[in-house]
Symmetry: C2
Subunit: 405 residues, 2 copies
Amino acid sequence: MSTRMRPLRDTIPIAEARQIIHTHLTGIDRVERVDLSTAHDRVLAQDIVSAVDVPPFSRAAMDGYAVRAEDTFGASRAEPAILHCIEQVFTGQTPVHALHSRQCAEIATGAPLPAGADAVVMVEESDSNGSDVRIFMPVYPKQNVGRQGADIQSGQTVLRSGELLTPSKVGVLAALGTTALSVFARPRVAILSTGNEIVAPGEPLGAGQIYDINRFTIAALVEQHGGTPRSYRTVADTIDDLSRAVDECLENDVLIFSGGSSVGERDLILDVLAARGEVFFHGIAVKPGKPMAFGQIGGRLFFGMPGYPTSCLTNTYALFVPALRRLARLPAWTPRTVTVPLASRIVSATGRHQFFTVRIEKDIAVPAFKTSGDITSMSRADGYIEIPAHTDIVEAGEMVEVKLF
Amino acid sequence: MSTRMRPLRDTIPIAEARQIIHTHLTGIDRVERVDLSTAHDRVLAQDIVSAVDVPPFSRAAMDGYAVRAEDTFGASRAEPAILHCIEQVFTGQTPVHALHSRQCAEIATGAPLPAGADAVVMVEESDSNGSDVRIFMPVYPKQNVGRQGADIQSGQTVLRSGELLTPSKVGVLAALGTTALSVFARPRVAILSTGNEIVAPGEPLGAGQIYDINRFTIAALVEQHGGTPRSYRTVADTIDDLSRAVDECLENDVLIFSGGSSVGERDLILDVLAARGEVFFHGIAVKPGKPMAFGQIGGRLFFGMPGYPTSCLTNTYALFVPALRRLARLPAWTPRTVTVPLASRIVSATGRHQFFTVRIEKDIAVPAFKTSGDITSMSRADGYIEIPAHTDIVEAGEMVEVKLF
């Protein structure tokens, strides 16, 4: 064997790789202020204590008549209670008069209850000839009333730091009159492609060169999972240029490189990282995607992804996305799955956890994998199945769980 | 009954409402150019025909030695084939020499194959003393070679108009050297809150007034599902102001109002819409969320949502989001679900399809619904169950499918 080539013989199981990554991750601490209108899908970085009651006043929950409940006791269609209507209260208005015995006020949903009123009779259970209103059914006190503070009470902690701001939680913030709030910053992810053969789309392609794919697929996943992708220039395979590129990337929260952890003589990125930082693992027992590295440099975690587009992307889905979400303090992400029969037998490499892309055709999983160098192995697939390291054959017709892209 | 109040007696089943909405929807036709770096999650508006082969040249799929396969036939550890190494080809370089009989070239993964070579021997199956290389195993022609055009061939249609640009499809575009492309525009969604009682967060809250919630919850969902939310001022309950507001909103693709389709005298928005457009339905047999309207005005579809925050949000999830995705040409969206036992009996209104929010606690669904006026009915819930119109009781312990937020 050439002394200049270094095959990747030692690999660790994917579960161990996940565990090592997990051990080194902590959620981001940097916070920023955002407007309420851009707060959704962000992670709250402060407790929210309400300074107000919601609703701020007791209000009608139905269109109808605000009454003193006791005036309706015993009412029926045969013997309605007859009340005197003293005013109309529309939503957004305030009642002028307090209700006294045998009085009522016509009231719209959401309008404040007059003083003295303690219930609302639905309009459907009444009849009116102008000033006199006939009530056909008794109401009990508080019936059809949204009481002041029933939703949220002043002084109550309504949301806590670390909660993901779903649409309904954004609604809670609006209900309190919030206009700006503190959220955890999105992790900044430096994305860097290495390799003399890599050219950015739009530039001319020389002999032996190919367009950069991984920078774009990784950036798309980073945006989908709560990070801010920051693309860096393609880096030549020289120690000097790689070292400079690492320095440029250190202003970010995490570094993800592709192409730098294979076994050729010219894959120098790991040397740079090992010299200036620490490599936690290099090589995992997955197929495709064996040449993956994870470590730290200058206090930043780095992920070294395989150069081949399909391996890079499956490892990004399987290992980087969960890490990024943890860094971003987002809840764990479970891909949607379907369980369908496999169209044709798959022979898998024993000893390596295998990702195998499939298309779903007529509720059957049809293998879509060509080679790990082919982006169409993924772009023509609907998802992938995982074949554990100890399984070597999955027969046609066996039910498989497809994780959907 | 007061002549000024109009109870909502006629409702249609939710399935019929879905059908009516579906009938009126077509995917957006407006297209725009975007950079590749912002293309993910957009819907392609052109066919993509490759002008290049991917890979653009035949290349090594492994680190090792480029060979003429026939020179290795019969090789074994006991009787290796001995080849003369004439050069090294690194990734990004081009080979200088053509291979002749009994010659090989050291080659890195991704580097172009020399002329004359038709296979690559893995480095693990070889040994070298400098210029002579011993090959321990035969390779067949094309083995360990990524052939020119094997992934994508020039002239091939690789993506079609209407496809969602997932990360791997973005990767395909990058592989072709694409820098900009046509996608369908995001539907512009005019969001408008109506009601004299509604005040924007940040403004002082007068007597009888509450903060606008729905504008923010709807906007969050619009952004999550491929639309561009455009918030409009809160509109007073006057025919004139409502009519002006509708005019302002018509520059958008779809209009969604909240608060305007209940039954009080002052809910005038439907009158405006009916006078100037067409109401397709008003009132659906769901609980909460009965007062919902759907129609068109000035060639734009409009959705009139209930004013109450929880009803507004469940109807937005259940009816508006699917419509928006269809308008945006996005694939149908299936919420994630868990199936767990119900903590306590729910008595449901027969004749109305019911949405019932629940929290998941220790794998049990605990009812979280307070009233449709309470935003915390949703913000403290993890999802909701649906109880069909013909079911009146769901017993404690029954398994229920929870659709997660």
